[in-house]
Symmetry: C2
Subunit: 180 residues, 2 copies
């Protein structure tokens, strides 16, 4: 078991570290989605519905185009899922104020309730992980995750200098669809 003759190889270190990153992401995502999936099944919904509910809840008044840009799926794929959510009274559409071709999306009361129920589990998972890891680790987590995301979408995550909180609060209260 003791292998004294194995020299330390920096290339191996790197390879092992990178593979661990890949696997951490796989397992974290697998477990992260499992709980909401179970809840959704009771409504006859799937993960795609969750994504729509989540982002509409996070960004009330967003357009269909905004949503498509986030999800990176075709409008036909979105249409089926979004249509169901509208038909079943979880999401409302209203024409845009400046551009009446747009359909601005919002959660209904019912939709808000489901969103809360679904996201609660995921928030709890993050709360636990953050608490166990500590504030410094959370900063590192943010940095690495941001580096994994395509340049184009990093601007969705405001950098956290002084005043970060006020900006985040304003962004949350009055989401700018064009920015999404």
């Amino acid at each position: 078991m003791t292998d004294v003759k194995t020299p330390i190889n920096p290339l191996f270190l790197r390879e092992e570290e990178l593979r661990q990153g890949i696997e951490l992401l796989f397992f974290a995502y697998r477990d992260f989605t499992a709980e909401p999936d179970a809840i959704l099944a009771a409504y006859g919904f799937g993960r795609a519905h969750h994504r729509v509910i989540y982002f509409v809840g996070r960004n009330p008044g967003m357009t269909v185009s905004d949503l498509l840009a986030i999800l990176r799926i075709t409008k036909q794929s979105l249409s089926r899922v979004l249509g169901q959510l509208v038909d079943e009274g979880f999401i409302t559409q209203r024409p845009g104020v400046h551009d009446r071709r747009q359909r601005l999306l919002e959660l209904t009361e019912k939709g808000t309730e489901l969103e809360r129920q679904l996201t609660e589990r995921q928030r709890a998972r993050f709360a636990r992980a953050y608490r166990e890891a500590g504030a410094e680790a959370v900063e590192g987590f943010r940095k690495v995750m941001l580096g994994l995301i395509d340049e184009a979408d990093r601007s969705r995550f405001p950098s956290r200098g002084p005043g970060w909180l006020r900006q985040a609060r304003v962004a949350s209260e009055r989401p700018v669809a064009g920015h999404l």
Copy 2:
């Protein structure tokens, strides 16, 4: 824009932080899988094939049960994907030594080549993110990600005290299927 009358609300801070975590994970996973998906399409394969190739490559000699435990899918789902990979010469099966009911899985030369090609992009993405974020951030990333993963699977990631490298190296060279 300046809103002096907004008091700082720690509950909001928490909520915002947790939602950012959720979104970081969504966007990172979305972008992380996009590149390999494009390569796989050329072979007529999908993401499921990638997962099988990845974990078999990482753990040569693993059993079908091991793989099912990692992927958390049914044997019927795995069967189709694994069957294709065996038929097309990317993976070989041989009976277990101690238990001949088992089918020990290994990549062929062809499989190893595809695995390299696929994982290369993901390794590159992590290498960039790690480099940009720095060693300390990587430690924080690891901690948080581990906290997100179900207790049952955390043991897949050896803790990195002194000597972790040797352990990791040994683990990589002689993977213990029962541990996966």
